[in-house]
């Protein structure tokens, strides 16, 4: 490793001020600091710092997503790996371009976006759409606002929302039947040309016609849907990890799940033949994935604890309303984006209350 470090330090001057490749410093920086922890030291008190940094913080999310990736590959085939590769390649190019123009370091936030995005795609979606969607999400959803930390919307959801609105036919026609049998689709590469495997019916779409897929299938994940969202089991495993590491806040998750279940249960109780049971709805579609991985994004959600409860309640309620009372079969994407819009306002409210209390302190 000493040798590698020496090589890295030898190349570095070429990218620094006055070097031939100075414009590409952000790219070089990202690679160097991926390999070796930066050598910066503290200049002011406190003289020591916690070992946490954004790289570690974001890698926790990626670790938490691994169960979903595993079930995704198991049920929908090896093509999912291609989805991830395309998503990373397209998104990273855009990210690097913006970093070079802006002369700012490449932010770790993209590594999560690039991983989340293919997980909320239909498994047989054309690869060019993945590239287009992630590029749109990164540019419009994040970079225009100033990059990770300053963005208003979850970039992955912006990308998905864009694709759903711009290419509704391709998106809704790219669902796959999950692999049957012990090996699933572990050794298969299935894309949209395989007519036998393609289906247009996700559990929520079927439910509009009154046909409910069995809960046990939805819990394990052997139903059609977006790659990462079908298996409640995998999401719960990863989500629990994320809550334990405190990267995701439990208040947001709890608030979404409670408000969603409560409203869905009320509706089902009022008109059992029109609205599905609450537990079924909980496992269907992208609700769990959204609650654990999307809504808990610290940047686009509220900061305050009070704000988080309200934000979660808003997302839970709006999801139920969209699912049951509009033409859309699934509403989690829209609900979370709506929550993102409200997050700063919710925070403002909590801050206003807090500042009133602080006024008399000290």
């Amino acid at each position: 490793m000493k040798l590698l470090l020496r090589v890295v330090e030898k190349i570095r001057p070429h990218f620094e001020e006055g070097g031939k490749f100075h414009a590409f410093l952000p790219v070089y920086d990202a690679i160097e600091h991926f390999l070796f922890a930066p050598g910066t030291i503290t200049t002011t008190a406190p003289h020591v710092r916690d070992p946490i940094d954004l790289k570690r913080f974001m890698s926790m999310v990626i670790v938490a997503l691994l169960p979903c990736v595993a079930t995704g590959i198991y049920f929908f085939g090896l093509r999912f790996i291609a989805l991830i590769v395309v998503s990373y390649a397209a998104g990273l190019s855009v990210e690097a371009l913006f970093s070079i123009v802006r002369k700012e370091p490449i932010n770790e936030g993209f590594f999560v976006t690039g991983f989340l995005f293919p997980l909320i795609m239909p498994p047989a979606v054309p690869l060019w759409m993945v590239a287009l969607g992630v590029a749109f999400g990164v540019v419009i959803g994040k970079e225009l606002f100033g990059g990770t930390g300053r963005n208003l919307f979850n970039p992955a959801l912006v990308g998905r929302c864009f694709l759903a609105l711009a290419y509704p036919v391709q998106m809704s026609g790219s669902w796959l039947k999950p692999g049957a049998g012990v090996a699933g689709r572990l050794l298969q590469y299935v894309d949209g040309s395989n007519v036998d495997a393609v289906t247009s019916a996700t559990p929520l779409a079927l439910a509009k016609g009154g046909e409910y897929v069995s809960l046990s299938h939805m819990f394990v994940g052997s139903v059609s849907g977006s790659v990462g969202e079908t298996s409640a089991l995998a999401i719960l495993a990863g989500g629990m990890f994320l809550l334990l590491t405190r990267v995701a806040n439990w208040r947001t998750v709890a608030s979404i799940l409670i408000s969603f279940t409560a409203l869905a249960a009320m509706l089902h109780h009022a008109q059992p033949d029109r609205f599905g049971p609450a537990l079924w709805h909980l496992c269907a579609g992208g609700l769990l994935f959204g609650a654990f991985f999307m809504a808990t994004d610290p940047v686009t959600g509220p900061i305050t604890s009070g704000g988080k409860w309200l934000y979660g309640a808003l997302i839970g309620v709006v999801t139920v309303l969209i699912r049951n009372f509009t033409g859309y079969v699934e509403g989690v994407t829209f609900a979370i984006l709506l929550g993102n819009i409200f997050a700063p306002i919710l925070d403002e409210m909590v801050f206003a209350l807090r500042l009133r209390r602080l006024k008399v302190e000290g």
């Binding site: 490793m1 590698l4 470090l5 600091h33 991926f34 390999l35 070796f36 922890a37 930066p38 050598g39 910066t40 030291i41 503290t42 200049t43 002011t44 008190a45 406190p46 003289h47 020591v48 710092r49 916690d50 070992p51 946490i52 940094d53 954004l54 790289k55 570690r56 913080f57 890698s59 926790m60 370091p105 932010n107 770790e108 936030g109 100033g146 990059g147 990770t148 930390g149 300053r150 334990l244 590491t245 405190r246 990267v247 806040n249 610290p298 940047v299 959600g301 900061i303 305050t304 604890s305 801050f351 807090r354 500042l355 602080l358 006024k359 302190e361 000290g362």
Partner: protein
């Protein structure tokens, strides 16, 4: 008690309970500035011989708090910048003749009564500088009336001189000091802060102070920075609007006892020496102005050390020009400067990392003391709104919000968000995953706001005076 936030950082090199006396120095270097004081009015001439306890300089902005000569010797001025050098330190410790100044004390006694005279004596003998105004952290007015007195035996920042070590060595002096403190007051309560008021040690202390009606014992969890005087005062419900709160630590009470019982100047300090880069962490008995080099030569083994005046959270690194211990030094912390860059550091399981965040394998085991360096351990990034700074903040403010205001130069909004309540404990900077120097920003903003306020008052006063002239 309403306590918020707080977090303990475990660092290798906690000072042990031994107190070692350092050998007598040949030369003393007394810095003219310390954290609170600037001794700008010099009272001695170059080459003058002084006795122990003579006033070398005073700070005109802090009620003329004196800088006392810790030993007899001859003064050298201008040899080292911003420092009074004391050469040819005499072996015998002759005390300065304070009779001349006692007349002044009698004068004060006639004007302000016995308590006023006692306070004057504390000031002259160098004990008053151990007092703090709890809310502002400044030196309290010796003629003011406090609403309460805080006595804290805790020292939670890694690493400053431990109160329990000093207390156990001189319990009798301590209780006598409390008695003296009471005599300075009329009826105001003394809050005596201990980590465990049910312990055997506490009951011994309680037996000693049984007679003092106004001493109240307060239990406090051992979490940094609950020993901060501003945090303590606020959690006890002592608002700054009701008058000043005097606060002092164990060494302060011991100094009060020394000044009022023995009438001797307080020039000896017990400081800690700790941190990752120290051979045997412990406590040292030194006089102020003690040469720094004598201490580091003996205790520091690290080839590239950062030597900090105070603890790791609030201390300042000694500059290259620093030669001696200042009059406010409570400890020396030594950290190794970062030398190595870790390969794929962020991917490691992290069983050897002690973190606020449960993102490392080490969160499965009990918290442990880590061998920390001065590494930043990450790159500066924009705030990701993780709320960790607010969770640890003992002052109950929102550091992330104030940071965002200050980032956009909205100083007024930052003031409205009560940046002035910040106690500068440094925990927000410590836990920040984006490595933002929140503490440094807040200190700067607070100073700016205070300066602006002072200027506004000045212009107002000037306007009023011109109006008077015109009238």
């Amino acid at each position: 008690m309403k306590l918020r936030g707080g977090y303990n950082i475990f660092l290798q090199g906690r000072p042990g309970s031994t107190i070692k006396a350092m050998p007598e120095p040949k030369t003393l270097y007394l810095p003219l500035s310390s954290k609170r004081f600037r001794f700008s009015a010099i009272h001695v001439a170059d080459g003058q011989d002084v006795a122990l306890g003579d006033v070398l300089a005073t700070d005109p902005n802090n009620y003329d708090v004196p800088l006392l000569a810790p030993r007899a010797g001859s003064v050298r001025l201008g040899q080292v910048e911003d420092t009074v050098v004391l050469e040819n330190i005499a072996k015998s410790q002759e005390y300065a003749d304070t009779n001349g100044r006692m007349e002044e004390v009698q004068h004060v006694e006639r004007t302000f009564g016995a308590a006023g005279a006692q306070r004057r004596r504390l000031m002259m003998l160098g004990a008053w500088q151990f007092l703090h105004e709890a809310h502002s952290g400044r030196l309290p007015d010796p003629l003011g009336t406090p609403q309460a007195v805080l006595v804290s035996t805790l020292s939670l920042e890694p690493f400053t001189a431990r109160g329990d070590v000093q207390l156990q060595a001189r319990l009798l002096n301590f209780t006598r000091g409390l008695e003296h403190l009471q005599s300075l007051l009329e009826y105001q309560p003394i809050y005596f802060v201990l980590p465990d008021i049910k312990s055997e040690f506490a009951s011994i202390v309680r037996n000693h102070i049984r007679g003092y009606a106004s001493v109240k014992m307060v239990e406090l969890p051992l979490t940094y920075p609950y020993d901060d005087f501003a945090v303590l005062a606020r959690s006890l419900g002592l608002s700054s609007g009701n008058g000043p709160v005097w606060a002092l630590r164990t060494e302060g009470v011991l100094a009060v006892d020394r000044a009022l019982t023995a009438g001797k100047p307080c020039v000896t300090r017990i400081i800690s020496i700790g941190g990752t880069g120290v051979v045997s962490p412990g406590h040292l008995r030194v006089v102020s102005g003690y040469p720094l080099k004598c201490i580091t030569d003996k205790h520091v083994f690290e080839p590239h050390p950062r030597i900090i005046n105070g603890g790791i959270m609030t201390g300042e690194a000694f500059g290259p020009g620093a030669l001696g211990i200042d009059t406010e030094c409570r400890g020396i912390t030594v950290l190794p400067e970062l030398q190595e860059r870790e390969f794929l550091g962020f991917m490691r399981p992290g069983s050897e990392r002690s973190s606020y965040w449960p993102c490392f394998l080490s969160s499965m085991v009990q918290r442990f003391a880590e061998r920390l360096t001065t590494a930043m351990r990450g790159e500066r990034r924009p705030c990701i709104s993780c709320n960790a700074c607010e969770e640890v903040c003992p002052a109950g403010i929102s550091p992330h919000l104030i940071h965002k205001y200050l980032y956009r130069d909205l100083v007024e909004e930052a003031a409205a968000a009560r940046v002035d309540l910040c106690v500068e404990c440094g925990l927000c900077s410590y836990v920040c995953p984006s490595k933002i120097d929140l503490r440094a920003q807040f200190v700067e903003a607070k100073n700016g706001i205070a300066r602006e306020k002072a200027e506004m008052l000045e212009t107002k006063a000037r306007q009023e005076s011109t109006e008077e002239v015109n009238a």
